[in-house]
Symmetry: C2
Subunit: 565 residues, 2 copies
């Protein structure tokens, strides 16, 4: 057992305990000294209660020796308030320093180490867990080391993922969310957050273009789960018996999605019992956009084979090319053949906030459901993904199980606000607050500005490298999203004749440059092959900190590291 | 557009930009004044890079007028560092005040308002989103109000959910996680967190009792998803073709779970295409534990009907009664009939950390998979749930889709650490760090102490009310977990003869007391009906801040509020 148990663990009433009761009520408490406590309580002015704004109680950081302090000395331990405040403020100091440096171009994006190096222990950074507690001093060192050996995803030169950047308002929102530490399943324990979710989802549906923002939706743990919701909801709409009888109640259902679409549609087909073979991949044009005629042909073919076409996913902003499928033409086909139209706007949904770019999602208002990840193009911290459904009631019909211990019908408030039963989760993390707070702080126009700026930057990159020596675009024409896909050809490859040998060498260029980038820690950008195309770079811009100078830095760095390959 | 655009949005290179490059390398940057920047960079000592510990750079809070500051004035805006630091420190002040008050028994647990009241706006707290930005001063007010109208789930008298308490180390861990703002899918962008997850899962498997901690696992967004993983993994183990061919490749599969088990097993049956009718509910004894003979009888019956029994869920710590199913006896039956044994230890798994109580999960080492939520009994902040699988390879075989843009095989490091493809998610929130940090800070013995203390407290409550006038236990005998289930009988009911009228009146008592509790804001505890039993209180203790005096307070409060019902 722990060497020193917290004082509050004993059987005695906590001497610090003050009992909150409405004055004048009958009082049954049996503890000693209660009369005094009541008096002292009554003397407090009522504004003290639940008032977070009392400025005189601010804690100041003082030099604290954490080497003899342990977790057990923090609240709720007796006299734990002072060490708790000092410890939290020390952590905040580490974090704010990290934030400052994240935006400082003189710091590296990462300090790369191989897994075995970190596992062996870096200068005393020991990842192993043990039976005995570490001092708070060591815990603070662990916090610093964790950040030190991590990747600065908010750095202006981190372009590796669709989600980049570190939004300060969003960060503050997430800190508050952690502190509130509650759960979205009922209004009872998350009244404010539940309402924020409801209002924000309505706003998103209005922006999609559904009349009066009607419909339904929920925030889920990422775009893959949001896409899974869309397939489940479609199945429930057309074949509600599947919920009780299983997939035997609806044989041979088939789904359609682009060969360029996100792999989560395939994961959903596997998980939900359709089978990946019953997910039919649609051909795309050279820019990665679904060819509607191919969809119709494959629907007709599937019907001829006795299958039941049920669901079409149109991608709004594909992962690699940033392509937007033509939603109107796909919607026409969905209406004709009575199929559910889902728009996966995990990446491209953010463009709906821009008057200049939202036309790329034209027709989204005809979708039955939409995935939209504010944690990607809108810069909201991870995780923040919404599934939005046009028809009210389908989502809850699909998922509700009416657990008596959570969703009691005989509560004192309007239980239609207990939205948790719509989810496939039970407990659900509060993903809404940071997004709501960012929307408050930026306004709709702030998001619009951010999106327009990122697309301007990608336009800058595209026009810069389009005709530059040593670069070759993966597809012709201006990219639709911020994705700019290109090969860098080192001088030694440029004059080689087309053929397998050149392809083989080119295939190795991007991984090699990426490895050198990570080792020098200066910047990060993604690469991958696609279809018959060998490894190429996929540049994406969602980071509000990025500027033209960072784009220039990236191309310079590619050329520096790749020149002699 | 926003009235004042951030300075960094223009096409000009950011004048604050400093370019990080290894000294002596060829330099291609075309920007002006670069020579100066390089010199200034070289002058910095190398320890500045990635060093979070420089103490001289601490920011101090100063009185700042936030009324004329907006989100666009924060980093990455030019000169944004000072307002960013002041804003974050102001937020931290709000949060640390909230933390202090959370542990202060003179504050309310909640300040209840109905949905329509909050929607109408409370003293200027306006939830609606608008096109124009709000000042940072208003954002700070919004933060205070959000906490003010929420529920203090860490309050020593909040007993409403299985997850209660506010662990300071866990909180610090979650703040750091938000600041790092990365994603678990690859080692590339989450090297430290990926390794922490791996080591922690191994430790958990060792504690379960699997040889050498071998096996697999992943942290998922809650116990419901972890349970869903178990069903998917079992299906893949026995019928791998379902992944590609769908449920038609494996007809008439049936699953078994206790009638007292968590509703997520039912949600998984519906979602994954089994159908809820193919989830067979097992009878329990009076204490809510599965009767093994009933399982065997139902397996035999299912087989006789041509069904294929595939999966049994044994609950270790049921949601309402806290019951532990007899795992060994269930495991015998699973072995006999070749079924997958899953143990849902979402709630009870934490008891594995206690030498005194872990015998309640005896046999768990025979399970094929285990759900274990550190965010429940172990006090880790939400969300933190693990699915652990005994056989290596099944989880990734089940879910992997090998997306080329994320899981490139030609990276420079050992890509077996890119664990994201095991998940049904793509992006995955970092749930591990807070848990890892708590384990470091408390040691295994710290968790043991916490669990033993909570069970001691529930023993105190049980012995207190077992024979107390006005109380009736829902089931006989000492509870296995911290769940204490009871009816409170107001004096007016005590002498009524058994019958429908008494039942009807008793059914209304718990909801009424709960409503009064919430309106007075003094404490919160859950209630529900179960089977043919009318509404009763379910007291659970997982909050490290709770003491005997809080238990006394709860019963006093029930008696005070319920006396005249």
């Amino acid at each position: 057992m722990a060497a020193s148990a917290p004082s509050s663990s004993g059987g005695e009433p906590d001497p610090n305990s003050t009992n909150l009761r409405p004055p004048g009520t009958r009082f049954l408490q049996k503890n000693n000294n209660l009369e005094e406590k009541i008096s002292s309580f009554k003397e407090r002015s009522s504004k003290d209660l639940l008032d977070n704004s009392d400025r005189d109680s601010r804690f100041r950081r003082t030099e604290t020796d954490f080497s003899n302090l342990f977790a057990r000395d923090l609240l709720p331990a007796k006299n734990g308030e002072e060490p708790t405040m000092q410890f939290l403020l020390e952590v905040v100091d580490i974090l704010t320093n990290y934030v400052r440096k994240t935006f400082d171009r003189s710091t590296k994006v990462l300090d790369f180490h191989h897994p075995h190096q970190l596992l062996e222990g870096m200068e005393g950074f020991n990842l192993e867990l043990s039976d005995q507690p570490e001092s708070l001093e060591q815990i603070l060192v662990d916090c610093r080391d964790t950040l030190k050996y991590g990747v600065r995803t908010g750095h202006p030169r981190f372009f590796n993922q669709l989600s980049t950047g570190l939004d300060i308002i969003g960060l503050a929102g997430e800190w508050l969310t952690s502190t509130a530490n509650t759960n979205m399943f009922t209004y009872e324990i998350a009244p404010v957050f539940v309402l924020m979710e409801q209002l924000t989802l309505k706003k998103m549906r209005e922006i999609i273009g559904w009349p009066d923002g009607e419909g339904d939706g929920i925030f889920s743990p990422g775009g893959a789960i949001s896409n899974m919701y869309s397939v489940m909801t479609a199945r429930y709409k057309f074949f509600p018996d599947v919920k009780t009888k299983g997939m035997t109640a609806a044989h041979r259902l088939v789904l359609f999605t682009s060969e360029h679409s996100h792999y989560s549609i395939k994961k959903a087909s596997a998980a939900l019992g359709f089978g990946t073979e019953n997910l039919i991949l649609l051909s795309t044009d050279e820019r990665g956009r679904v060819i509607p005629a191919d969809l119709e042909a494959k629907v007709i073919d599937a019907k001829a084979r006795g299958c039941v076409p049920m669901f079409v996913n149109a991608t709004a902003g594909s992962t690699v090319y940033g392509a937007f499928d033509p939603i109107h033409e796909i919607a026409d086909i969905c209406e004709k053949y009575n199929m559910w139209l889902h728009v996966d706007g995990a990446w491209g949904g953010g463009l709906l906030m821009s008057r200049k770019h939202r036309h790329k999602l034209s027709g989204v208002e005809r979708a039955n459901s939409v995935t939209w990840n504010p944690h990607k193009m809108m810069g909201v911290p991870l995780q923040c993904s919404a599934i939005l459904v046009r028809e009210r009631g389908v989502l809850s019909g699909c998922n509700s199980m009416c657990a008596g211990y959570l969703f009691q019908p005989d509560k004192q408030y309007d239980v239609s606000y207990d939205t948790g039963d719509k989810a496939i989760q039970c407990g659900r993390h509060v993903d809404i607050f940071k997004f709501w707070l960012m929307w408050k702080a930026k306004g709709t126009i702030g998001f619009e500005h951010h999106i327009d700026k990122c697309l301007d930057l990608s336009h800058y990159l595209y026009t810069k490298i389009r005709d530059r020596e040593g670069y070759q675009m993966v597809f012709e024409g201006e990219p639709q999203h911020t994705n700019v896909c290109f090969w860098y050809l080192p001088p030694g490859i440029r004059d080689m004749p087309d053929g397998q040998e050149r392809r083989d060498r080119l295939h190795k260029v991007a991984p090699k440059i990426k490895a050198l980038m990570m080792e020098s820690g200066t910047t990060m950008v993604g690469y991958q092959p696609q279809g018959d195309k060998v490894n190429f770079f996929r540049m994406v811009i969602s980071n509000p900190a990025a500027t033209r100078s960072d784009i220039d830095f990236l191309t310079d760095e590619i050329e520096r590291l790749g020149h002699d390959l």
